[in-house]
Amino acid sequence: MNLTNDDVQDILRLLDATPYDELHLQTERFRLSLRRAPGGGWTQESQATGSPNVLPAAGSASETTTETTTETTTETTTETGAPGPPPVERDGLREVRAPLLGTFYRAPRPGAAPFVEVGSRVDEETVVGIIETMKLMNSVYAGFRGRVAEICLADAQFAEQDAVVMRIEPETRPA
């Protein structure tokens, strides 16, 4: 049995009549902390502690990998919190990096021609791909003038924040 909002209200009615400022409740399935807020009223912090009861996927080929995939996703999400200053240049090539984590797309729409191919000429403002994060499409700009030397991610591949998306061979244009 999980705690409902009505249960919490009932507990608060009891607590209100006491001098206590905090209540911590723990059962096999959840933890609940209720605290009097400095400005009046109460706050709640709850935690469902039971483990998910996950069934093997129905006739799915990926059933053996589901657990590990989840953990990888969670871990990598936190890792992006503090990205180190990335090196921007290697072998004279400039790196184009993902502005935020999400799914990388090479074309504006499914079935449409890719924004760029290896060899495409780009300048700072050229859109070279899209990163989809939380249903929002974010343009990835080349950031440099030159030629696309390498495309490092496949279409629809997941990109970490600051992941190298492409490498650009810089070009210094004669004036």
């Binding site: 049995m1 999980n2 409902t4 909002n5 919490v8 209200q9 608060l12 209720l34 807020a37 400005g39 009046g40 009223g41 109460w42 706050t43 709640q44 912090e45 709850s46 935690q47 469902a48 502690t49 039971g50 483990s51 998910p52 009861n53 996950v54 069934l55 996927a57 129905a58 006739g59 799915s60 990926s62 059933e63 589901t66 657990e67 995939t69 989840t70 996703t73 969670t74 999400t77 936190t78 992006t80 919190g81 935020l100 984590l101 999400g102 799914t103 729409r109 499914p110 079935g111 449409a112 994060t133 939380m134 249903k135 929002l136 629809a156 997941f158």
Partner: protein, 454 residues
Amino acid sequence: MRPVLRRVLIANRGEIAVRILRTCERLGIEAVLAASEADLDSLPARLADRTICIGPASSSASYLDVEAVVGAALAVEADAIHPGYGFLSENPRLARACDEAGVVFVGPTEAQLAAAGDKLRARDHAVAAGLPVMPGGEVRGVTEARELAEDIGFPVLVKAVGGGGGRGLKPVHDPHGLTEAVERAMAEARAAFGDPRVYLERLVRSGRHVEVQLLGDGETVIQLGDRDCSVQRRYQKLVEEAPAPDLGDRLRAEMHRAAVAFGERLGYRGIGTVEFLVDLDRDTFHFLEMNARVQVEHPVTEEVVGLDLVAEQIAIAEGRPVTLAQSDVRTNGHAIECRINAEDWRRGFRPSPGTVTEAVFPAGPGIRVDTHVQAGSAVPPFYDSLVAKLIVCGRDRGDAVARLADALDRCRVDGITTNLPLHRALCADPEFAGGGADIALLDRFLEGVGAARG
């Protein structure tokens, strides 16, 4: 006669999955969660009786995959599928696949989903039911578009017939931009919705978004009052309330009647919402669209009419008639909901996925928090940014706004960036506090505080 539902597959994620789970638990229905690989460790997965994986993180391969969802229902021998909102909730293919597999679809009929989902057909039904619609109509090309636009006058809105949820809309302010907008809209509509049809409507710049909640059993249709969702940005709602403030009695009654007439025209079964745009200058309203599912903002209606809308949905899905008489529906007090999203409103509403390190919410009388996050929860980049809904209820609107301000001060979600600061600022805004603001309020507010509009 349909059977009593004993086991329901919840084909959704996030706060709505938790919301549906809670009603199932209260009703003694076993709840099995259909989750993607990214959600196997989520709060709904911990609360569900069982969880079945329906595919990888990408929603097109999991939550949007009709075969995976129906396959999961059959694998766990579920009596019914509850689709929640978004994803497949309004997809007629899921309703049909459920029928074919002998699984109850908790929602309207396939034909009703098709009628509400095709915006032109919905518009035709609205006209037939006597509802006022925005001047406009379908255009098959640029010439037709130009003629129609001259008739209805600029600015106009080019809309994709298959669009929805704020997608597939293009405002055009003068004749010069029309050709390109129509051509692009048709190309994009084909690519995005598989349906190149577009239509034009008059663009109303100053109006209020008011909607009416319906409940129907296929014969009887009643309304459960109205909501105001005018606080929105780029057609995405941010704050909703019930009842809609400062609506004249005559206008309110006409909108309620219009919504019921639309539901009756479809012989609507389930819960649904008819959306209207109220024209403040002319003191009239126009039909916008119908949403044939439970809505994100349904809790504000629940709080003021004292009903569990998910339980009502399940009762209808079990084949039971609406037992509530229209005269029994009474509104009590005023409720406001804030959508707490993982986004940085100071940086162009940039999304902020990550891991929640702490989640502190207010508690007490008149306060309800619908959420799927707790300390340690992942907020994955694959899905929308809603992390919690704070719902407060007061005696009247003034009381509700005061309680909302207090409740927002007691909210803290760490580890990700949320729009809580925006809600606090908005709650203190005199125009919002005054009530009855129009759909341009949020843009004005953001401009006023100099927030990056992105």
